[in-house]
Amino acid sequence: MTSTAQSIRDRVRKAIKGQKQKTVTVLSCLLAVEDELGWIPAEAVEEVAEFTEATINDVWGVVSFYTNFQTQPLGKHRMEVCWGPTCHLVGAQKVADQVLKSLGLPSEGTTADGAITLRYNTCLGACSNAPVVSVDHHLMGRMTPSHAADAAERLKRGESIGGGHAS
């Protein structure tokens, strides 16, 4: 076993054991792994199956059902563009198009250098300040295409971005 694989297993085990709530399930373990790693490697599926006494197939069934679980490593930074109806009505499509253009991506996915992953989200929850984009889990509201381009450029330069109304 390589040391990377071992370190992934160690982190997974720690995440699974460190859950706060009493009701521990396949789903709760997977969410804990996602918090720790950002994605669900095959090693994690094995560890979760063993810990919860479920089968590997049971665990894969849950991984493949919830749309937040990714089975490929994500980029260093994550950008999410909301396409819920409120955001859609007030210009989310133009924001999304601009982000795709700035990142050089044809659709959702990770940039070639592995730096930034773009995903669409059905609702980020800040509808009253739509359109909304989230960068590394920080919400940014009242977005325009130029604000979005600015955020994408800053991420590409490796700057960290706090939440808020981009300006």
Binding site: Q21, T23, D97, Y120, C123, S128, M140
Partner: protein
Amino acid sequence: MPPNFAELKSAAQQRQQELSSKPWIRVGTALCGKAAGADAVIAALKSELQKRHMQATISEVGCLGPCFAEPLVDVSAPNTPRVVYHNVTPEMACHIVQSHLVHHKPAADLALGVVDAGGVMPGLAKLADHPMMKGQVRIALRNAGHVDPMDIYQYIANDGYAALHKALTSMTAEQVREQVTKSGLRGRGGAAFPTGTKWNFLAVSKQPVKYVLVNCEEGDPGAFNDKGILESDPHSLLEGLILSGYATGAIKGYVFIRHGHEGPIDRTWKAIDQAYELGLLGKNILGSNFGFDAEVALTGDSYVAGEETALMEAIEGKRSMPRYRPPFPAQVGLFGKPSNINNVKTLSYVPQIILKGGDWFASIGQDKSKGTAILCLSGDLKYTGLMEVPLGVTMRHVIENMAGGSRSGKRIKVLQTGGPLGGVLSGDGMDIALDFEVMAKAGAILGSGGIIAADESTCVVDLTRNLVAFCQYESCGKCFPCRTGMSHLLEVLERICRFEGTAQDLELMRSVGQSMQAGSLCGHGQLGFNPVSSALKFFGSEFDQHLRDKVCPTGRCNEPWNPPVKTRRY
């Protein structure tokens, strides 16, 4: 030995006095505040106070309601009025500290309104007179934006846990259920089922292990009131949950929240931890014989997880697909035990109902719709945000007066209410009352309370395509009429928006919709045709223009359309 209630109350009052005796700055850090930049404002406030060696408390509060004006900074100090400042930037925050706290002169030009003037303040309007605040009746939202959600003592100082104390010391479980029944409270998650009746279903079960579950899945785009309550005043929900446990004989409550929303999750956990510390959860609550536990259960991204039987599957850690009914949850629910599922809003009303009586709650609202509606206003509106109004007010009053009409000044063309499955209403039909029966008759639902407004620049066919894309993306895949039906509807709508629709397309969609309604297990498939049927009902001519004349009157359909493509899940 945990402190008794009188001791808790006096500790809470003392804490409140301490807070009021020095400058107190509240900053809204619910999702709306965060998205508008509250974090940067707090950093600026902290550094300004430090620079000036000033002592002040900074509290991160929830959502006061006027999200359009976030970041909101609410400043109070002894001998000066309490003022709420709007759209605050880090630079403005420094100016506010200087003006309000150093010179004791509120910065009138930056103010949204005065909360408690303590006398007349020339040049400053009362916050309660703001169009969005005027006419609100705040029951579930009474503390939102005012108390620090992470401080249980602030909740206790504002009547908190008094209802639980009252119930445990002077009411039987049956009497609690009677008051809830008398109040006329109906579920606010969408189905509007009488809460007292639901509680009775669970109470009759003699099984020793029963559960009460709170639904804060809230995957509805355009709805943020459940998350808003948990972020603003989680103890209101928690007290309601404990009361529901007492009333139904349940031993444990689960608060079910979608993973990834740190604000509501962290604040709910903190509330639970504090309640355990003070003896409000656990064994022998407030010295009584009643014991109750609570914890947060998280779900992954799945809209259908908000359906009550799918929710139980998710708490059990499985794929959140609905179960067959019967058996109903009150007989066989979570982990096979009898269970009740209530929405966050529903339970948040309960403490006030127990404290003030069912008759008091029933005196608000109209006909069979008692109490208030907690609305999330978003879209092309001047004042967007969270508000609580008595049921029975008209949609027109809410949209035109309280939300200030459209931002652009154009006519409101379409309203999308009650989540994506709720369908759309025409802007011409705004004279209907916010009332479960009236709304249903008009072909819409009040549902979760989300209202998305759109002005005349909106293409309804494009909006319908977006709503159906959501429903297609979120179908859990269990029932084929929903799974394949949604995909067919989206395909047809995409074709219509490309002006490649055919004369048979509308009939084709109706036939697919009928199959979905007849052949689906849960509301997702049964109601999944609502966006299309309601759009056809009110805006049929717009579909005709796309189909026959091959034009989109607003030009929206000439623009690119790149929805997320999802092929996993099933």
